[in-house]
């Protein structure tokens, strides 16, 4: 009998493990990935989804099995088995979550590092702005993966001013002011953000990035788009009555198209 239950436990955990992996690879719940950051994010998401599915399905199955198997039958009185604890079992299920959590923590540290989160934020926002070592808080910076994958050595600096209820982008090169964000494919963009009134947040779901835009405290967000297209910019911090309507677009162009756009518009503004 103990042999049978051991085999049953083993098979069911095997099915559970395989099922968890299958679910994570077949249930796609994420939007298009359109930045260097996004595939790294999706990898983390998949790992978390595998672990989560196994745990959730496993616990739910245990609860439902117990309710059916150990239910009180009609006319049945008396108590269940007298089991007040089991030290080795308890050590087992303290250790397993601890190991899982430790693994997830280290793994997400690695992901964070690959996203450039651990890069010191030293940014040369060409100009007199940064003379007095201004303290800038950042979102995820663009790490080493960027420099290896792109020919452009320098990033494209853009300034974002958020206000109720709009995003205003300013390109120092060409002095362009735009309500939509135009960026080229494959080049790192360094977005320096500040709010004029309340806290807003800059979020592009397809880039898997978000950073609050704070009044009185500039923040920086670096990203490298990888896919040409038109993606939404969403304000993600409650900023007033029209918060839901505070949206814009990021238009990711091919390099030439972007240069053209830059030329056309800087002529006008000069």
């Amino acid at each position: 009998m103990p042999k049978l239950s051991a085999i049953l436990t083993l098979t069911s955990s095997l099915i559970l493990g395989v099922g968890g992996v299958w679910i994570a690879f077949n249930v796609d719940m994420l939007p298009v990935s359109a930045s260097i950051n996004a595939p790294v994010y999706d990898e983390l998401y998949r790992v978390l989804f595998i672990i989560g599915s196994i745990l959730f399905i496993g616990m739910t199955a245990l609860v439902i099995y117990s309710l059916i198997q150990f239910r009180r039958r009609p006319g049945e009185t008396g108590d269940g088995i007298d089991l007040e604890g089991n030290i080795s079992l308890e050590i087992f299920w303290t250790a397993v979550p601890a190991i899982v959590v430790l693994f997830v923590g280290l793994y997400s540290y690695d992901i964070y590092d690959r996203m450039g989160g651990m890069q010191p934020l030293m940014h040369d926002h060409n100009g007199a702005m940064d003379h007095q070592a201004e303290r800038v808080w950042g979102g995820i910076g663009s790490g080493p993966i960027v420099s290896s994958s792109t020919q452009n050595s320098s990033s494209l600096p853009i300034e974002l001013t958020a206000m109720q209820f709009a995003f205003i982008f300013h390109y120092p090169k060409g002095d362009i002011i735009s309500g939509e964000l135009h960026v080229p494919v494959g080049r790192e963009v360094s977005l320096k953000m500040e709010s004029k009134d309340v806290i807003h947040a800059f979020w592009v779901p397809q880039f898997r990035l978000k950073q609050d835009v704070i009044p009185g405290q500039p923040t920086i967000l670096n990203f490298t788009p990888t896919k040409a297209g038109n993606f939404p910019i969403v304000c993600a911090e409650l900023c007033g009555p029209y918060h839901g309507g505070m949206r814009s677009n990021v238009i990711v162009d091919e390099q030439e198209d972007f240069e053209n756009w830059l030329k056309e518009n800087s002529k006008e503004s000069i």
Binding site: M29, L83, V104, I214, Q217, H243
Partner: protein, 546 residues
């Protein structure tokens, strides 16, 4: 000067109204106060639920077309504030804590009965004040988090009333916390050791420590915020040199522990309910106690995970990621121990048991998404989206509210001496469980795909899923009808429950239903084994009887 001291601890008879009027009095009886908390909390739950219904109606269509945008923000602010401060916190702490803790420690009342009554009577006026602020220039519209500068720039009247009522509710919470700590540590019946207390006492001890340590920080923060609004000081106002991030740190220093203030007592209540209805001892008592205390300690050092996109330095993000993820360890222990408590039992599939098991399933999902959200790289995408909305409703509704219903089904016979209709209760559970999951599970997808929270209008591609979610919300609303009917029906015509319908061993069942003032006719029973169920125990007690 002479002071006359009455020999008896009980107040003079004539000052205590009898009958139903005692529930509208400044009663000092902990059981009356407990039920006052429960009924008052439930009334606010109905109001908060109606507001949630209004939100779900607005979100049926992608346009802002059901109510004005300002009103929508007022509604979501009131919904959050009412559900947290007037329903879950007062009920899992105040209602069940007041009713049960004196029984569990073998006392005749709480340590400070008058403080107890004050703590309760602060709640109805501050709740009414909060709701009526809607009719005076509009209620607060900056969300229950009241982040400046939005809370400074929105109409001041509503925001100030919001601050005042949250301060009063926080005061009530602190009074309650002090009372629980004193009662549990100082009023224990002689011969009763701490490690022999029912698990709910440990949960309330841990929770009260959190309340007493963190609520004053919220109070201080809100007072500074009110200075910024009324006196134009510059603590958090960036145009006057203030710092908005400091507010967030101070706010979340309370408001993250607030989550544990809402779920730890629920953990305690489930630990009481499961052993009785599965006729087994609580599995792993000692590890349960240590995991509660572990959660208390860790819960105080994780607040900045609410601020991963606010602009926090990398080292801080890492520290709070790891601290937050580690809460999963003590929490996990508790869930495995509960499943082990079910294992091999003689489980009664009554509403109390079903709601507790529904809690386990919902909370596991909410916990898993919680560990995911703790990871900075994961959070930067889904922070402030419907993914978070789904996550915390799985914790506070799927967790705490399911436990509140479970506890009402479990203790109703003690409160009233009447039985509830079990079939109607099972029906209530099924509708609530389906409605809840239909309402909130799809919201995970919404958040991952780009729908931010707190919006009245959204991208039309999300319409179908939002409508699905609204259908779930409708089911949740309808599910309260069989519950209310069941309660009314049972109070008026319910079967007599007897003193101990569940054959339970914890001290509240060892007296009449409803219990007399001061709890026991004679001496308080000394219960050294509150979870002494199981075959061996049964045989032992039968032998003793012979």
């Amino acid at each position: 000067m002479t002071i006359l001291v009455k020999p008896s601890g009980s107040p003079p008879e004539k000052l205590q109204p009898t009958g139903w009027l005692k529930y509208l009095s400044f009663s000092l009886d902990h059981k009356v106060i407990g039920l006052q908390y429960l009924v008052c909390g439930f009334l606010f739950y109905l109001i908060g639920g109606s507001l949630a219904g209004a939100i779900r109606v607005e979100l049926i269509s992608p346009l802002s077309d059901f109510m004005p945008r300002e009103v929508y923000n007022q509604v979501l602010t009131l919904h959050g504030t009412i559900m947290i401060f007037l329903w879950i916190v007062p009920v899992v702490n105040g209602a069940f804590g007041n009713y049960l803790i004196p029984f569990y420690v073998g006392a005749r009342d709480m340590a400070f009965p008058r403080l107890n009554a004050v703590a309760f009577w602060l709640i109805p006026p501050s709740g009414l004040m909060l709701i009526t602020s809607y009719f005076i220039n509009g209620a607060a519209q900056s969300g229950w988090t009241a982040y400046p500068p939005l809370s400074i720039t929105t109409p001041a009247a509503g925001q100030i009333i919001w601050i005042l009522s949250v301060l009063l509710l926080g005061g009530s919470s602190i009074f309650g916390g002090i009372n629980f700590i004193a009662t549990i540590l100082k009023l224990r019946r002689p011969g009763l050791k701490l490690m022999q207390l029912p698990m709910y006492c440990w949960a309330m001890l841990g929770t009260s420590i959190l309340v007493v340590l963190s609520t004053p920080v919220l109070a201080g923060t809100l007072i500074l915020l009110s200075f910024d609004i009324v006196a134009h000081t510059g603590f958090f106002n960036p145009s006057l040199g203030g710092n908005v991030i400091v507010y967030q740190h101070l706010f979340w220093f309370y408001s993250h522990p607030a989550v544990y203030i809402m779920v730890l007592p629920a953990f305690g209540l489930v630990s009481e309910i499961l052993p009785i209805h599965s006729r087994k001892p609580l599995f792993g008592y000692t590890t349960m106690v240590f995991s509660i205390m572990g959660i208390v300690v860790l819960g105080l050092v994780v607040w900045a995970h609410h601020m991963f996109t606010s602009g926090t330095p990398p080292w801080m993000r890492l520290f709070f990621t790891i601290a937050t993820a580690f809460i999963a360890v003590p929490t996990g222990i508790k869930f495995f121990n509960w499943v082990a408590t079910l294992w091999g039992g003689k489980i009664a599939l009554n509403p109390a048991m079903l709601f507790s098991c529904g809690f386990i399933i919902n909370f596991v999902l909410g916990g898993i998404t919680g560990v995911a959200l703790a990871q900075v790289p994961f959070d930067v995408h889904v922070h402030d989206t419907y993914f978070v909305v789904a996550h915390f409703h799985y914790i506070v509704y799927g967790g705490s509210v399911f436990v509140i219903f479970s506890s009402i089904y479990h203790w109703f016979p003690k409160f009233t001496g009447k039985m509830l209709n079990e079939n109607l209760g099972r029906f209530h559970f099924i509708i609530t469980f389906i409605g809840f999951n239909l309402c909130f599970a799809p919201q995970h997808w919404l958040g991952l795909n780009g729908m931010p929270r707190r919006v009245a209008e959204y991208d039309p591609q999300f319409q179908l899923i939002n409508q699905l979610s609204s259908v779930g919300a409708l089911l949740m609303a309808l599910s309260t009808l069989p519950f209310l009917w069941n309660i009314l029906q049972s109070i008026l015509y319910g079967d007599d429950a007897g003193d101990n319908p569940w054959n339970a061993l914890t001290p509240e069942w060892l007296t009449s239903s409803p219990p007399p003032v001061e709890n026991w006719e004679g001496e308080a029973p000394l219960v050294l084994e509150p979870y002494g169920y199981g075959e061996k125990h049964l045989n032992k007690t039968q032998e003793e009887k012979k």
